[in-house]
Amino acid sequence: MLALLEARHLVKHFRGTKAVDGLDLSIPTGCCFGLLGPNGAGKTTTVEMLEGIQQPTSGIIRYRGEPLGSRFREDIGIMFQATALQDYITGRENLRMFGSFYRRTLPLAELIDACALGEFLDRDTRKLSGGQRQRLLLAIALINDPELIFLDEPTTGLDPQARRNFWELVHRIKARGKTLLLTTHYMEEAYQLCDEIAIMDHGRIIAQGTPRELLAAHFDDVVLQLPQTDFPDPPLPPSLTVMHCRDTVEIFTRDVNAAIKELISHDISLARLQIRPRTLEDLFLELTGRELRT
């Protein structure tokens, strides 16, 4: 598939720190591309270079095979993680203002319908809830009917209902054949929305592929979960790979039957046993480590 946006050997230095270290990336047309990584991995710097907000120290970024130019600005929509809107201005006035920056704009009615803005369109932006604010910011990002949309942690701080509502909006955008670049800390969100995922750490991409491909490439086991209280005092047999997560014990196994037999032989109750497949969160932690990032 033709790459809509691609980056080659992207490097960014900040006063002796290498935030992005020779990154290569290719986002095909119509794809929802997820960029994941722990805090300080270089995600935001990478995305801001791809958005044209920051200039790379070295490397090349091409949109439709050409360097980023005025056409790129007309063709993209951006929803930053934290964008202040002007105080005392309504949603409608914001949409009109941003709409005036572009040659081509979507009809306001279409945008109001697509992002469900009707109930608060004429309200002062200071009085919007978190979910309403994010929907308005998404509408502003879509005002120019962009080909490529950047969504930087769009659901951070939203409640589960608002988050799922937002996912539905993103699905509708995808259905219109738009290309998206999404950064998120929610692995379920990435799994739900992204066709392709890249995991970054220390300024480099350390894994890339579809969510299924990535999981298949890194895991061939499942996870048995049992409450810690169901285990007797003597330790578990060393044949099992075990991890203690607060009040839960996780057992990683390729052979569920054998693992269960082993647990039964140690008189462990299976009444509260849960079996789950490996998730993107497991992959993320395995690749980037479990230590706290600052």
Binding site: G52, R73, E74, I78, A84, F101
Partner: protein
Amino acid sequence: MNFVRFWAVFACRNREFLRDRSSLTWNLLFPISLIAGFAFAFSGPGLDLYKVGVLGDTSGWHGSNFFNTRYVRFIPVTDLATALTKIERHQLDMLFDPTGRRYWINDESPKGYVLERMLRGADAGSTFGKQTVSGRIIRYVDWVMPGVLAMNMMFSCLFGVGYVIVRYRKNGMLKRLKATPLRPLEFLSAQIASRLLLILVSTALVFVGTDRVIGFPMFGSYLDLFVVFAIGAISLISFGLLVAARTTSEELAAGLLNVLSWPMTFLSGVWFSLEGVHPFLQKAAQLAPLTHIIDAARSIMLDGAGLMDVSGHLLALAAMSVGAMAIGVWLFRWE
């Protein structure tokens, strides 16, 4: 009130302030510079409360008790007409002619009245003839009013553009705009135009409102006054823009804007005339746009001057506007 929470916030705010070196430096340097400036401006044997212009040769009169009065600055003047204009405008409190044995005061000036009493008390035996200031008598409020309007305009222009742009930069608004096809020049000119419109409308409203209550003399053209205020506002906005071009800290911006505005307030003759102030400061005042706005506005309102008469001030304002705006646009960064 929970004092534990209060203290935590208080301590954090103090740390933030102390660690913001640039703002801290300004917060220290600004009052020091201000005090030093005042000390320099009013240096000399003491604080002069009264200004008396002395016409012609004063050598024979140093023995007079009046000349020994403390807190009066005696300023030699040579041209009678110019000196009388200064009396009208409260730039001089009295004009004294020892040779002609006469003096002039503005009957609307409290300081003139006090000086007259001092003169009679100091030289009771002498006879000095009181002269009437010919032409119109300008009240202090008439003289100070253009200055107050211009000063209000200055604060609105500097803070309304400079501080607001820095706030937009800090809260991410400028970053969002950078991601659109909007160009810096478009954004900046919109800011300038918006502030210009607001300030001209609000100044006009203040002018009309106060004129109805107090009644100001207007010997020139309202259109000429409008032109002076418009060019003056553009020059002040340009300085605001210059401050906001790259500043990212709201506190630093406030410090820089204070550095511009407060010395201008004192040096531009808003409240008192710079007559008798150190010549260096009188020259320095010419670098401040506020000086030119106030001088031109006073000339139009009180002397009936036309645009040609104040063209020097207008040219200075235009040059400052072009210079500050060009540098501001050149330095401007969205982030």
